[in-house]
Assembly symmetry: C2
Homo-oligomer: 415 residues x 2
């Protein structure tokens, strides 16, 4: 079963605008085993739109259009789709009545132009829209399914999930796809690939994709089955194998990011955390405090960018800075001790490094970062050399700091 | 002159993947007065691809395809475009030699499959690719311009800017478009609209679009002219009028964000800054330190999430917290004074508020934020009520804190 998506609206072609319905619909269709082969965004132009529908109806089993169902002269989706299918548009008395009632409920009289929202393609069924005035519609045209949905994501998404997917799933023979994402913070993409490729390549189902980001590698496993339970079991079989190959490395399989996972661990174990950030400049604190409820464990953080701040706020011994430099194992450790002393937290993390573009020396290149973790019986320091420019170095350092906390809490070796 | 864009590659249809070439090419074409009427992403499927090219060549004056020019069996763009145009593919001897030389330079022998990268559509001209092995090509097909470009943005963008745009511009009659973005942090979208709409609606050229974000309103002015100078003059005429209607409100017209503008002001005036953040949890520090060179003025920051941290780290009087609560004008002021005392900075900003979802009371709803700015002869406090959920409240509060600094530095009234 092949699908094609048509997004309607000149405003979606603005280079600053991001069309999000296409990705949402693609994800939903994949979850029921339907592949999307083309996704088109078309301006509000009657001829171009009709051609888009004509092409889609000539080759796709399922065609899903979003947008262009409003009441204005620019809203051409109904008409263009009807022409492409060679069918008439008919005003539906029931829909018209419902539209008028909706306006009356808001104390307004319906303008005549709104009546076009009650037009149905000959043979189509209306799809109710609980959140807006434009109903959708669906047509079985010579064995091909055509759906017209409104453009606002808040209206489109529940209609797609609740009304479109069940119909398409039946047509697709009820196959189900399940995707699970395994997230790893302590290994790069190629290292993960080397370890797990010999295993996942023996599986045709699930399929596996590797995605690398700043301080993060993701394994996307997509399994197929007669239903969600079977597809899920396929995914679990491979996931279990990968877990065995990467002990302690996978921090999340449920969509949560690393800050959420660390926050949950700290909350659960009632361990408090404090931060001293130099090169990350507050990034770790911002990520931690983005998690609701972080006040339960977060004692406070310092952004000590200058040497003076490291001395004045954290009580770092000036002679340590002088002897070893601000970017050193010794300074990182002194920062962690200092913030722990000041806040009385159970754990303290310190990060100092060279994010660039300036500040590098011959011995200390851009991307050199020291991380220290201090606590009762905990004393870990890590030296890392991160690739990339300022933003990327900062993001990787923040991720490494969170991973350092996670590994210590779980009794895993330092990264 | 109407354009259509075709992005080739099954991987681009992954719901997690974002196709960026389309927006880049659309932006470039608009800058020379060419409208994009359709943008299609197609899987690596020979029949679907050929249909996409056939449709595009039947209606668009300019067709730009990206991707599918590599050496593998999945790279079908050349063949599909040639078929759609009814032309043969011919192996180009010069291109083949250049390809082989490229492999030799990297000390490798070229695999036979790579040779297809030397295929040109009959009548097409090769477009050199300085950063990759796949050359592009361009064809004038019955008065319609067809361009095939490689998919990696790092290869595509310089080829598009340097080789495609000049050809299209000539075809488009040399009209130029210039876009300028006026950014405002201290007024919401509808307030800005109300003030400036009566003016900008009297202009057909430039066109104006308003975009609202978290703590930010943007006015996009796009002017058209015979050349960039004329288009720019049109934009400046309207921009000058808008400046007059919004005195002191526009913080940027050159693409910089608010943190960059504030960093430049602080550096230029040699004023140092320190921060005390509660509900924003390090967001302001992270934004400030994201600007290279921020160590010149940034004295340090505190993330004091808990009452205890406010007392222990910032020296806030516990009785102030008790009497007025952590989210109050008095606490904000005490936090700003405390951080200034600790760091010796010229200016200090403090932010305390309720980001949600928990922590609200009857008097103090989610979104209530107090901001304080302290300095020699500077004592400003602002109470704000921001709409939205946790992330949005935090983003708006961070933006408001930066705007508070900007306005004080420029001698403008508090927001």
């Amino acid at each position: 079963v092949k699908a094609e998506i048509v997004a309607v609206g000149s405003e979606l072609l603005d280079p600053l605008r991001r069309e999000t319905n296409g990705a949402y619909v693609t994800g939903g269709l994949r979850s029921i085993g339907v592949d999307v082969l083309a996704r088109t965004t078309v301006a509000d132009d009657a001829a171009w739109l009709e051609q888009a529908f004509r092409q889609a109806l000539s080759r796709a089993d399922v065609v899903i259009a979003t947008g262009g169902l409003g009441p204005t002269a620019d809203d051409l989706t109904r008409e263009a789709a009807a022409r492409a299918a060679g069918r008439a548009l008919k005003r539906d008395a029931g829909l018209l009545e419902a539209l008028e009632a909706r306006f009356a409920r808001f104390g307004r009289v319906m303008a005549p132009v709104n009546a076009q929202q009650a037009d149905l393609i000959d043979g189509a069924t209306s799809l109710p829209n609980a959140r807006g005035s434009a109903p959708g519609q669906y047509l079985d045209h010579e064995g091909r399914l055509l759906f017209l949905l409104p453009g606002p994501p808040g209206e489109m998404q529940p209609m797609f999930d609740g009304q479109v997917l069940p119909i398409v799933r039946e047509r697709a023979g009820g196959r189900a796809l399940v995707t699970r994402v395994l997230k790893i913070a302590s290994m790069g993409e190629s290292d993960v690939e080397q370890v797990v490729a010999p295993l996942y390549k023996t599986f045709e189902n699930p399929r596996t994709t590797i995605l690398g980001g700043a301080g993060q590698t993701e394994l996307h496993l997509t399994g197929e089955g007669a239903d969600e339970a079977e597809a899920g079991a396929r995914v679990e079989e491979l996931a279990a194998g990968i877990r065995g190959l990467l002990p302690g490395r996978i921090y999340s399989e449920d969509g949560r990011d690393l800050a959420e996972v660390v926050a949950a661990l700290l909350t659960e174990r009632q361990v408090s955390l404090a931060l001293a950030e130099s090169c990350t400049g507050g990034l770790v604190a911002a990520r931690i405090t983005a998690v609701p409820g972080s006040s339960a464990f977060f004692e406070g953080g310092y952004v000590t960018y200058s040497n003076r701040a490291k001395v004045d706020l954290l009580g770092v011994d000036p002679s340590v800075l002088e002897r070893h430099g601000a970017v050193s194992e010794e300074t990182a450790r002194a920062m962690a001790d200092g913030v722990r002393r000041a806040t009385g937290s159970d754990l303290a993390v310190a990060i100092t490094g060279i994010a660039g573009p300036t500040g590098a020396t011959e011995d200390k290149p851009v991307g050199l970062v020291f991380l220290a973790l201090a606590g009762d019986g905990v004393d870990r320091v890590r030296r890392a050399q991160f690739p990339g420019e300022r933003d990327r170095v900062r993001a990787q350092a923040a991720q490494a700091a969170l991973e350092m906390v996670r590994r210590a809490l779980l009794g895993l070796s330092p990264a």
